[in-house]
């Protein structure tokens, strides 16, 4: 599935702001894996997701997806197989276009090779309405309204739907509920769990919620200083508590976990 082999990335090389954000990092995801990443401030969690998505090219190492080398493939070409959600719900949708038009655009993913002048058909609209109904937010009755009128939570749920409308080979979630209020965040997490399970999507998620990192998905990764310091799954993970996780982090990274946004309880 996803093979990340020894990637490194240094930002602002040769200046006082030089920062090694990824340090010879390797990661393998099997098909259907759902990995949650936690880590200190500036550990390189988002940088890892950006590297996989193609926001920049890595300095060293190789990234392959389903056996295809995508190391030097531009972002817009990788995104045919990689769906992505950002922390900011405004980033994933076009505010002046309607819900229907946004969904149609996401649907482009499938239309590779098909005519650029094709339009949304009635069948597509019915499909969109059906999918919107599954979100249970009443959006199916508002398909002709601009997305800018929706709340942050509704926009994030719509972005999630757009990213998975045609199941991607890999889904990247970058703290996608961090900007939402707790109730809405809970709902978006439930939707994520449901959609990822239904479509059997391989998924890489950054979170600051330790409990979520243990409960959601099938693997927990911890990062520090551009490396992965802990990778647990299976029965070992199932038996783990947040305290165990913190202890293991200390052993792996040789220091306390330092993240001012991390949620230990809740």
């Amino acid at each position: 599935m996803l093979h990340v082999e020894g990637i490194s990335k240094t930002f602002n090389p040769g200046t006082v702001n030089q920062k090694k954000a990824l340090n010879n990092l390797s990661l393998h995801l099997a098909p259907g894996d759902f990995a949650a990443i936690v880590g200190s401030n500036g550990a390189g969690k988002s940088t890892l997701l950006n590297a996989v998505a193609g926001s920049f090219y890595v300095d060293e190492g190789r990234i392959t997806l389903d056996g295809e080398d995508i190391t030097f493939r531009p972002e817009h070409r990788r995104s045919r197989g990689i769906g992505r959600l950002f922390q900011d719900p405004m980033r994933g949708t076009a505010p002046h276009m309607t819900i229907e038009e946004n969904l149609a655009l996401a649907y482009l993913r499938t239309s590779r090779g098909s005519a650029p002048f094709s339009r949304i058909s009635r069948k597509d609209k019915e499909f969109f309405a059906h999918q919107l109904k599954l979100l249970d937010m009443g959006l199916e009755d508002r398909m002709r309204q601009p997305v800018g009128l929706l709340s942050g939570g509704q926009r994030q749920a719509l972005t999630l739907l757009m990213a998975t409308l045609v199941p991607p080979r890999l889904l990247l979630l970058d703290e996608h509920t961090a900007a939402l209020d707790p109730g809405t965040a809970e709902k978006v997490i439930a939707l994520t769990r449901e959609i990822v399970a239904r479509e059997k999507i391989t998924c890489l998620m950054v979170t600051h919620n330790m409990r979520q990192a243990l409960e959601l998905g099938s693997r927990t990764l911890m990062m520090d200083a551009g490396r992965i310091v802990l990778d647990v799954s299976g029965p070992e993970r199932a038996a783990m508590t947040v305290e165990d996780l913190l202890l293991r982090f200390r052993q792996g990274a040789g220091k306390e976990l330092d993240n001012d946004r991390i949620l230990l309880s809740e």
Partner: protein
Amino acid sequence: MLFISQTALELGFLYALVAMALYLSYRVLDIADLTTDGCFVLGAAVSVTLAAAGHPILAIPAAMASGACAGFVTAFLQTRLGVPSILAGIVTNTGLYTINLMAMGWKSNVSLLKQQTIFSLFQGLGLGGSWYETVLAVILTVAVGAVLIWFLGTRLGLSVRATGDNRDMVRASSVNPTFTITVGLCISNALTALSGAAVGQMQKTIDINGGTGVVVIGLACLIIGETIVGRGNALRGVAAVIVGSVVYRFIYAVVLTTRVVPIECLKLVTAIIVGLAIAMPSLKKWAAFQKRKMAAGRKGGR
């Protein structure tokens, strides 16, 4: 009076194509494309020169193709070579001056004498009586507007719109913004050139400096139209530019006949109107802030 309104209608509809081009670049793509002035003359030069050579109909697609090329150069400069978008338009615009002279056979103006134009050919069909020029102008602009609305609803059109609305999202939807910006600017400049081509054949003459201020007038039409019709979907946008352009030409005609403003000053007046209209959101904000400050002062907020 009838003659004046007829002229205002004809020019209003034909210049609406420039405003439509600016709607696409400035509103939809969110790029201030200043290729417009030179591109308008380019369209006119190609069109009049070809009409003079006896090909008035071929002149129209040729002019549009030349405009699309100019748009491509501007797009290439900003997407591939990192030239800031406003500068890219100005650079192309400057270069076009020479290209336009070349298209006009190195003369600073070209006129049609007895050669056929699309308008005289249309008159030959016997449609519209003495209003034949107006009828053709309306048909041309409405047809182009309809195609533009249709295009903005297609998958490619949606990608172009999303590029101007949220570029992050576009990349994440596997659309290449370089490609969509290029497509958008090619189409918008083809429309500008089409406007120049039609105006050139109607007026049967083209001067190398005939494009000065076209971009500002086009923006004025866009803003006047949006004030009257409002903003919203593509249909509303296209309707707005046509209404705005016709209204502008009527104002122009009134000024021309009544001389309330000396005609030499009209470009300055247009520039002031456009400047104020684009500044309006900031001015409103400033006024609201002053009001808020005054209110706080009255309460004795010390």
